[in-house]
């Protein structure tokens, strides 16, 4: 366990020199999306008079969804290029595992560090939401860990996958064919009930849908009765990812 903490410490030291670039991508992006889509487009949606679940405005509907999606996107990016970089290009992992640090320490440490970063992003975005008067319940505090869990449900499996890659080419495909469709069809922008029926069924098997349901329910004070299912799905995915990641990391580093 202390080994994992040392990885967190190491990443914090590196981050001190590199945080500027990531501020844009991680926190500014959902905020800009919220301003353009939530406020600008939201006014047009609300004028259309189509009812949203719970009778909320479009801005209220969108903001929590963007929080969950931001967690997915940051988690997705951080567990692809940086992981492959440390594995193959800069060989940090090789150096780290040459010390008494175990592969388990390494995987858990990387994920713990990511969880910290996701927490910071979620807190910042919840503050933005509060500034716009979005949250309808104090439960919004719990939306922060829910968003972090959503991120980890992506990060752990993607990290496991990234450790098996020899090129970074596949990552582009992963972003464009997996993460972008999830971003657009998991109920972030459009209530899932308005999608064609097959897509609604498919959504139940995608992690972002569960994350959006949880985060939105908590932020708007209307937690769906299916919440244990959502929680379980995300936790199971993260746990499975951790198990597989240890295997793929070990194979790659000890080969």
């Amino acid at each position: 366990m202390t080994g994992a903490l040392r990885i967190v410490h190491r990443n914090a030291l590196v981050y001190r020199r590199a945080w500027r670039g990531s501020v844009f991508s991680s926190f500014l992006q959902p905020t800009l999306f919220f301003c353009a889509m939530g406020i600008g487009l939201g006014a047009m949606v609300d004028a259309g008079g189509e009812a949203l679940p719970g009778g909320v405005t479009y801005a209220e509907f969108l903001a929590p969804g963007l929080l969950a999606a931001a967690a997915m996107q940051v988690a997705g990016f951080e567990s692809t290029y940086p992981v492959l970089g440390k594995m193959m290009w800069f060989r940090n992992y090789e150096a780290i595992t040459a010390t008494p640090m175990s592969v388990t320490d390494l995987v858990l440490g990387e994920l713990a560090w990511l969880a910290l970063r996701l927490t910071a992003i979620a807190v910042a975005f919840v503050l933005v939401m509060t500034a716009f008067g979005i949250p309808r319940s104090p439960l919004v505090i719990l939306a922060i860990p829910a968003a972090v869990l959503t991120g980890l449900a992506f990060a752990a499996p993607i990290m496991a996958f990234a450790a098996t890659r020899k090129h970074s080419n596949t990552f582009n495909v992963l972003f464009r064919f997996v993460l972008t469709p999830l971003f657009l069809f998991s109920g972030v922008f459009v209530p899932i009930s308005r999608l064609p029926r097959p897509l609604v069924r498919a959504a139940w098997f995608t992690p972002l849908f569960h994350g959006v349901e949880l985060v939105r329910g908590l932020a708007l004070g209307a937690v769906p009765p299916t919440w244990p299912l959502h929680l379980l799905f995300l936790a199971a995915l993260a746990a499975a990812g951790i198990v597989v990641a240890q295997r793929t990391f070990r194979q790659r580093l000890h080969s």
Binding site: F24, A36, G40, M44, G48, N172, F185, F189, V190
Partner: protein
């Protein structure tokens, strides 16, 4: 003494004239040929670029569009479609113009190798532009076809006028202008992280605030001035006039912006690359 002086003056002049040399079409095509050969290994990245605007069209244009009332008599999906076409021109220009060229410049040193042959810098820049243009035209034609088919199949057409035929060359113009600007910006970047800043501070805000998803007129005045200054706004405006058929004199303003900005960027890019590559 005077003789040597005049000689060195002359060679300085001819070196200067060399910088201003026009690209040779034949040699520029060699650059395109080179990219085509490499493309065989990276086609997935390029093909995937076409799907991004398509997903946005389905998710936001058609999905969310079902909840948005018509804008000036134009359905929301027909409003968004030309905007996404413009943004796909921008995306293509960025993939090629930013990352690929940066890697070829500083990591793979591709251009150093190329310049050891009879190729010169203007040929390289023009060749890269031609490549971007070819790719942009394929993207645009594919996207317009999908928009046409989707619109007709769903009974809610997204190309509303025969003017839409001109949207294809217009998109190619936008793609050319964007790639010149992207290559130009790349010559100012020193490290890969610089692109994060450009993407976060320039490209992402432009994507959201150039009238693709929300009419510019709905924003406060000062915000509108900024929006109207961006190249994406003009590309969106140009393409939207053509696909919706509400063509007005303002179209010349959009075309002029893209042509002038593209040409200026092209010249700056050529000049700066010459200085970076020829030491």
């Amino acid at each position: 003494m005077t003789g040597r002086f005049s000689l060195s003056r002359r060679s300085a002049f001819s070196a200067y004239a060399g910088t201003l040399a026009l690209p040779s079409p034949r040699r520029s095509l060699r650059m395109v040929q080179r990219n085509l050969v490499v493309y065989k290994h990276t086609w997935m990245v390029i093909v995937s670029g076409f799907f991004e605007p398509l997903f946005y069209l389905l998710g936001i244009g058609i999905g969310l569009g079902s909840m948005v009332p018509a804008i000036d008599g134009v359905s929301y999906s027909a409003f968004v479609a030309p905007g996404l076409l413009a943004s796909s021109c921008l995306n293509g220009a960025i993939t090629d113009g930013f990352f690929n060229i940066h890697f070829k410049l500083y990591f793979q040193k591709t251009y150093d190798g190329i310049l050891a042959t009879p190729m010169r810098v203007p040929d390289v820049v023009f060749g890269e532009m031609l490549w971007a243009l070819g790719r942009g035209s394929v993207y645009a034609a594919a996207f317009l076809t999908v928009v046409l088919v989707l619109g007709e199949a769903s009974g809610r057409p997204m190309l509303l006028s025969p003017w839409a035929l001109l949207a294809w060359p217009a998109a190619v113009l936008a793609a050319a202008a964007f790639s010149a600007m992207a290559i130009c910006l790349t010559t100012f970047a020193r490290k890969v992280e610089d692109f994060d800043t450009v993407m976060g501070l320039l490209v992402m805000p432009m994507f959201l605030f150039s009238g693709i998803f929300v009419p510019v007129a709905r924003f406060p005045d000062p915000v509108q001035w900024v929006m109207r200054a961006t190249p994406l706004y003009h590309a969106v405006g140009l393409l939207r006039q053509l696909t919706t058929g509400s063509v007005s004199v303002a179209i010349f303003e959009h075309v002029a912006y893209l042509v002038v900005a593209g040409l200026v960027a092209f010249c700056v890019a050529m000049y700066r690359l010459e200085r970076t590559l020829i030491k």
